[in-house]
Symmetry: C3
Subunit: 429 residues, 3 copies
Amino acid sequence: MTPLAPMPFPETSFALTLALLLLAPLAIAGVALINTGLGRSRSAAQSLLGSLVVISTAVIAFALVGSAFAAGTSGDHVFHLAGKAWNWAGAGPLFLSGFGAAGARAQLAVLCELLSVALVVLIPWGSGADRLRLPAGAAIAAIFGALVFPLVAHWTWGGGWLAQLGTNFSMGAGFLDGGGAAAIHALGGVSALAVVWIAGPRKGKFPREGLSTAMPGHNVVYVLLGCLIALVGWLAWNMAGSLLWLNAAPATLTVTAVNTLLSAAAALVATFSVTRIRFGKPDASLCANGWLAGLVTSSACAGVVSPLAALFTGLVAGIVTPLLVELFELALSIDDPSGAISVHGVAGLWGLAAAGIFAPQAGQFVAQLIGVSTLLGLMLPVVYLVFWLMNRVLVFRVDPDGERIGMDLHELGGNAYPEFVVHRDESYR
Amino acid sequence: MTPLAPMPFPETSFALTLALLLLAPLAIAGVALINTGLGRSRSAAQSLLGSLVVISTAVIAFALVGSAFAAGTSGDHVFHLAGKAWNWAGAGPLFLSGFGAAGARAQLAVLCELLSVALVVLIPWGSGADRLRLPAGAAIAAIFGALVFPLVAHWTWGGGWLAQLGTNFSMGAGFLDGGGAAAIHALGGVSALAVVWIAGPRKGKFPREGLSTAMPGHNVVYVLLGCLIALVGWLAWNMAGSLLWLNAAPATLTVTAVNTLLSAAAALVATFSVTRIRFGKPDASLCANGWLAGLVTSSACAGVVSPLAALFTGLVAGIVTPLLVELFELALSIDDPSGAISVHGVAGLWGLAAAGIFAPQAGQFVAQLIGVSTLLGLMLPVVYLVFWLMNRVLVFRVDPDGERIGMDLHELGGNAYPEFVVHRDESYR
Amino acid sequence: MTPLAPMPFPETSFALTLALLLLAPLAIAGVALINTGLGRSRSAAQSLLGSLVVISTAVIAFALVGSAFAAGTSGDHVFHLAGKAWNWAGAGPLFLSGFGAAGARAQLAVLCELLSVALVVLIPWGSGADRLRLPAGAAIAAIFGALVFPLVAHWTWGGGWLAQLGTNFSMGAGFLDGGGAAAIHALGGVSALAVVWIAGPRKGKFPREGLSTAMPGHNVVYVLLGCLIALVGWLAWNMAGSLLWLNAAPATLTVTAVNTLLSAAAALVATFSVTRIRFGKPDASLCANGWLAGLVTSSACAGVVSPLAALFTGLVAGIVTPLLVELFELALSIDDPSGAISVHGVAGLWGLAAAGIFAPQAGQFVAQLIGVSTLLGLMLPVVYLVFWLMNRVLVFRVDPDGERIGMDLHELGGNAYPEFVVHRDESYR
């Protein structure tokens, strides 16, 4: 992939990309609804209001600051090492100034990135459910919108060093990430891991004695409806991404759509079967996680593989996700209510690797592995460090009293469902 | 209608069809949400998880097997009778092999059919609410995805014998089904009837003495919200279908959209009035059924009639639907929680007939009647027989204990709303 | 802006506008869901069924009658004053006769107006929550669909006198309303004010002694999910409106989309901050109002301003909305459950004025002010008078007994959530 500006972009492709990008927020709505359904009823309003807050904050921060670093321009920040140019940050204008005069494709790239950063920040927000404070969510969103996401987006989409692995080191077409499996999902999953490490598990999740406590989502209908709404957003997102970041011709996009659908379907069937075998009955929330993991996998694969390969990659995602969710919880004592670490993080990385396995170009797999390694080896420690520092200043986690009464009453002064009677099971409340 | 392959398909039509097909899953999401809302709270998670399961199973079965039978190719399976060739099944490749190299239009047809089969299997699943087991739903979805739906789709969309009624017997343009009123809705409605016959009514629905028991849906907001979400999907579906199956030029599609909207609106007003006259107060669930019946009617009519005719056909659907739902329940002791037999079955058949009445071509009405007769006279007994045989092997209906505690606890081991207090009215639970 | 008929409309623009208009109902679904969530649980089914009823009634009335007055034709009704022609009503055909033969653009205009009138009538319906009767809602919808909305739409979109301010009096490009801030939102807000004046506040809202009673919405998740769903509809609506009513080239639309998103985001952040400062904690429902006010503002501005200006106009909307909601309630004893007077009315008028401030054309601000004055000075008294007369005949407000048991039981004979246990707090029920 090369910088965006000089590329021609025929009118039909432009109109199609634009129409598809408008649908992308349905993925955002779906993920936000899933997050809320997987949390507790007494934190439901805070979860969804927080979603609006992190989306808004990230979008504004990206528009004012981050878009400058994400852009691919002739004056990009570059350092030289081993005889090669390493393009590590864009140098576009601040405040989106001159936006209306930019090229059609550069404008679409900004719109796509605005929506992408809105989805990125939802992912750690969901993992911090029931204890992450609104100010922490907003601060994370601000720093992700202004700096963290723009850098990763620049490396992969803005003609940065990951995209240039192809031209610089003959690694296939350079790092490929059509639907945002790296810049959105893996980055979001990595951040989710950092958030739950720092915020710690919910009270009562891991009692001193005995097994961890199951804390089922308060509304499974929200969770499963969110899966269906997210599907529409994902279909559109993968196709818009293929047009924008993979230079796909419209005629090739039907395969992308079919792949997206098959990946989700295969993952759902796999998770259904795995949880049925593992627990005797299928688990609805884990099935939702599996479906979503299939979609996340497709974010990397749908534009570059065949339908059968999409079935296979989705199947693997659906098998691995419920096992990982359990492993993280039981073996590593990680309390991740939305399962985002597995669903967005691991499935995103798996998809990126799989895209390298199934892509026809020589060296593509190495390029993908370098991208995966960058997210795990560079972004995870960096994000953890940033969050650790932030947590010293504004405290991520609610105080115990607030956690006891619920985030809604504590942070908003009111419940999401003031007229409904809820159980008072004090064993873990 | 003739086989798809040789037809030219201009770029704008291609891009528009593709974008519209991405919206079609909103019809699926809407119907799934309506189904869940019309069932009981203690089966809500099973209803919606089951929706994901039947969608996924049907989609995979169609991709691996069914697409071969649905395709329109030069090597279609044909028998000769009365001096004519009867094209009864396609002969495309299994496993979608070579899909990426197929023509643009053939690819879009597969995408449309993948989404169609996902919607077909939701329809009987909704009618089996509160007692149909997940394995039964998955088995139905597998056989519909692999065989039943592909045949009907081939006959109507893949250049099969119903489509060839025009060229073979001068019956107008052959059997017309732009939006899937036959291959999706009437087929789904017919299957819903077979399911409820075999699964039987919910316990307590028809007590030994007295009238049938009203079992209101547990969340009317889901039902009515589903209606609004489904509208978007239907608008897109009817227009994509017109482009794909009726060879409509984009410029004619605005009428299709207006017709879809007017058909739903007229049906809603009609059902509102009928239930108000009949019961003294309008019935919200039946109004939702009416709205949906108007949309289903439009699946056949929207692409071929005028706005005034769309108003009229919707009006008729809205008048007939609530009366039929009552008739099926009281006179025939049929327990159809989602009303799918009337909403998808009868309204779909009515729409197909009405398309024949209002279409300008000579002989169109006869072609439509032959399609309607095929669904009722051939598909209903065949589907019933298939389900009867399946029921001997894997038992469609949950055991009485499972029905008493609810499908969620019985099949999933957990409730959809674990934190909310629900009424324990034991009269029929 | 000039009449629509003679304008050329390239194929890509046509297809894009059509695809975008199909998404517009998501704005309708979002607003309907927000209205329902902001009302009481015992009126939830009536709220959402009423939404379907008012949408359907308005759409049918517009198709049969109103479209004739909205159309821009060579035979428009004109009177002459001060040496100028004042075009005050269209003279198209009744019953959409000849619709299929109309020009592509005129057809799209009708589709856009059908969707617009459906959204207009939702706005006063939401403000009348918990006491406005279904027959009143339907009657309002009928008169708005047949007469009130068509006139305003004709003045602004159909080449009427407001649109001609540019050619007649050199006021910029004439009154500009790309996304319906005037014909939809300000008109709807003005009607909401008339409805609450006539229907009066809910029982217990303003007790004889002490402050007004807070009556929180019964489901904040619906409210906030509605915000996310509405976003997709708004993005599409603003872009379709720019194509249709501002003659925008597709290439300029990315800015419109970015502006829509930034306007909502800035408004949300502003309302969050204002309510946090004002009440100590952010208010979730008011934040939803703020987000929506940002979207409403963008309906006027998104197509004509820069991203920074969109941030600013959204910010102002988000600051003003919560203060106005409080002012209307405390100082003027207005009980507006959905906040529509501020959210749609004031934010719409602010957006129209702001579009005049930021638009480059000379005289544009005057044209916008004349439009704002027309809505406040002409439409508000006219609508109030019409409602006052209607109220004499069919009584807008439910009787006290009906209000006590809730609109669902009273008008529909059943609850939205029959299985859930709700609190019986008799202090204001």
